[in-house]
Symmetry: C2
Subunit: 278 residues, 2 copies
């Protein structure tokens, strides 16, 4: 999916909601466990209920790998079921030496047909670039994550001597360097919502890129604060919610509850878009 | 596998060779393509031929994910086939927020039964720690990688103000911090062999840890130089070779050729161990 198509979908649906498809066999409603593929049955119902309110879906690979070949097959069926007007994100946080990263890119873009993959930056340029070489596909690079461990390395001060201007934090260096390898049409960045005060710093380095923002909801991020700092003229945000939506209920009406929750978020996003003149 | 068991295997086999099981369907011998599972057939023959000379096997996940559920199944069969006296490494470079990293750890340690997983450090402590909580299992953290992109972030100077002693490079900070989360019995580090001159710097920070060293062979690393800088009193090295061994031949005798190549490396390692008084 191209940037233009994504922006169109945001305008049509008045939403920049991404639903995280992180199904946990221990948390999904009991009545689904007798289905031949309970994980797919769960995802299918969630997609049916939230499709009108979400512009993107993001399965986190850990939830599928955890189940071996069976999980992989549930992932493939889920991806095939996501409506074509939705942007799809393989939240895989991959990254390896160049020729191996290319295999990962092929796995997610060719073997499956995700629109994007999340990518870890530590191994540098040749680990990221292979994900940028597929038409209409995206690398979403981890810059600032939503977890506590983000403090350990992402906020390290990088010494002046590296680049000749003021000290900057490692995540700013990651944004700057990675942005130079791609452009706003094939690269996004992960910026954790629990770091609301940091969004302004991020926007100074990458004003035009789309940001994928996890951490709203269960992890404590604030939708309005993030949006007011992060929205740009093309919206420029995909805000992910997983647990808050997919586990809104756990009875026979779990999908209905998920739909209601997604609708609530979409309504708030509609207002925030209006507030930003979009 | 515990550290003690690994060290014993190294002494018995007089080898610290790890064979990278990175099978590429386009490169494996043509006569295997008619097998029901060509990838497993290839791996099985390579394991049979090299098992006497190698103490570890390291499948890189990209080569399997690339083939979807079928690849995942080939990986499971391969893992089950590796002799129990060999150390197994899932070269997956995973890492996510804490509860999600735990799912990855379960995928590789419980669902499958790898001894270790390679882990990316960018997301910090809670992304690494879940891999340390399984008895006899290991996290192998990326510190200094063997690719060109290693220069982009791993060699950045981290400003003094972060820690109050001399400037250090990011990979040194990664070694230091990560080492404090685990110990020499559940953590190793990836240190690229193309960075031979850096091994001394690595050993200053982590003298006792095992290092997993990729990049020998096709990527240009020098076995003797790496060993002379990196060996410690328990050996402390696993040196990986993939392409140089598994593609030593591509005819009907590919496995024999792989065995010969592995034997050659093992002989050199035997001498290097002797030289180091081991």
């Amino acid at each position: 999916m191209t940037r233009q198509q994504l922006v169109e979908q945001i305008k049509i649906k008045r939403s920049y909601l991404c639903v995280g498809l992180d199904p946990d066999i221990k948390k999904i409603p009991a009545h689904l466990l007798s289905e031949p593929d309970p994980i797919f049955a769960f995802n299918k119902a969630i997609i049916d209920a939230t499709g009108k309110f979400a512009v993107a879906y993001k399965p986190n690979l850990a939830f599928y790998e955890n189940m071996g070949a069976k999980g992989w097959s549930a992932l493939e069926k889920t991806l095939a079921y996501i409506p074509k007007d939705c942007f799809t994100i393989a939240d895989a946080k991959r990254g390896d030496i160049g020729n191996t990263s290319l295999l990962y890119a092929r796995a997610f873009f060719d073997q499956m047909s995700f629109d994007s993959v999340t990518v870890a930056p530590y191994m540098g340029e040749d680990s990221v670039k292979p994900f940028l070489e597929f038409k209409g596909k995206w690398a979403i690079v981890l810059a600032l994550t939503s977890n506590k461990g983000a403090d350990d390395f992402q906020f390290l001060k990088v010494a002046k001597s590296n680049h000749g201007d003021n000290d900057q934090l490692l995540f700013e260096m990651v944004l700057k360097k990675c942005a130079s390898w791609g452009d706003i049409n094939n690269m996004m960045f992960v910026v954790g919502a629990t770091q609301a005060d940091m969004i302004n710093r991020v926007r100074k380095v990458v004003p035009d890129h789309f940001l994928l923002v996890p951490g709203v909801g269960a992890q404590g991020g604030d939708l309005a604060a993030i949006s007011r700092s992060g929205l740009n003229k093309d919206c420029g945000l995909l805000i992910n919610s997983s647990r808050q939506i997919i586990y809104a209920g756990n009875g026979n009406d779990f999908a209905e509850k998920a739909g209601e929750e997604a609708k609530k978020v979409q309504k708030e996003m509609d207002l925030l878009l209006k507030e930003a003149g979009l």
